[in-house]
């Protein structure tokens, strides 16, 4: 299995609080992605990174920010959590961005 770890695996938070999810990889892959999975919508890209400090927006980036200060870590921050951000969040990594990406186990986030 690819060395990719998401933390926390489960989190319950209150509306309006900031939340940070962490994705850590040991594969030295260049590309890292954050997705959310919701019924009827599949996997939607939030943000992705193509190198340290190089990030770009995906389809559903509003309300989310990311940071990548080193190759192995990609952080996703919900600046002020809302109930619509209740979802399962997946991180993925890829070596060349145009080949298969490996996924983490997911983080189930509930905003109450």
């Amino acid at each position: 299995d690819a060395g990719i770890t998401q933390s926390p695996r489960h989190k319950v938070t209150e509306t309006g609080t900031p939340v940070t999810l962490r994705c850590h990889q040991t594969e030295n892959h260049r590309y890292m992605y954050w997705y959310r999975q919701d019924p009827g919508h599949g996997l939607r890209l939030i943000h992705y990174s193509y190198g340290v400090k190089d990030t770009d927006k995906g389809e559903v980036s509003d309300g989310y920010s990311v940071s990548r200060s080193k190759t192995e870590d990609f952080l996703l921050t919900l600046e002020s959590a809302t109930s619509s951000q209740t979802s399962v969040y997946f991180c993925a990594i890829s070596d060349r961005g145009r080949v298969e990406a490996f996924f983490g186990q997911g983080t189930r986030l509930t905003v109450v």
Partner: protein, 111 residues
């Protein structure tokens, strides 16, 4: 606006028969296409891929077909097995590495 679309949310197929999953895309900048399989409470796992310069790629029971002019790809699974019951996601990647997914198709293989 999702640029990768899977219009069939579910598919039921008998064991031993062929499963055909379809996917359409709107962005002509996509140049690499992938299929992923997902079981509940797990992350998606890579299944098979195809470059835009090809029209077919085969790997065992799995074959992906690409029709660039129609912006359409399909995944064929022959023969279908009970372990194939899962959600299948179509994905597309552009030259900048932006990887986008469709909504998924739930496949159920019945005995």
């Amino acid at each position: 606006d999702q640029q990768v679309k899977q219009n069939s949310p579910s598919l039921s197929v008998q064991e031993g028969r062929i499963s055909i999953l379809n996917c359409d895309y709107t962005n002509s900048m996509f140049d690499y296409f992938l299929w992923y399989k997902k079981y509940p409470a797990e992350g998606p796992t890579f299944l098979i891929s195809i470059s835009s310069i090809k029209d077919k790629n085969e790997d065992g029971r799995f074959t992906v077909f690409l029709n660039k002019s129609a912006k359409h790809l399909s995944l064929h699974i022959v023969p279908s097995q009970p372990g194939d019951s899962a959600v299948y996601f179509c994905a597309a990647c552009d030259s900048w590495g932006k990887l986008q997914f469709g909504a998924g198709t739930q496949v159920v293989v019945t005995p």
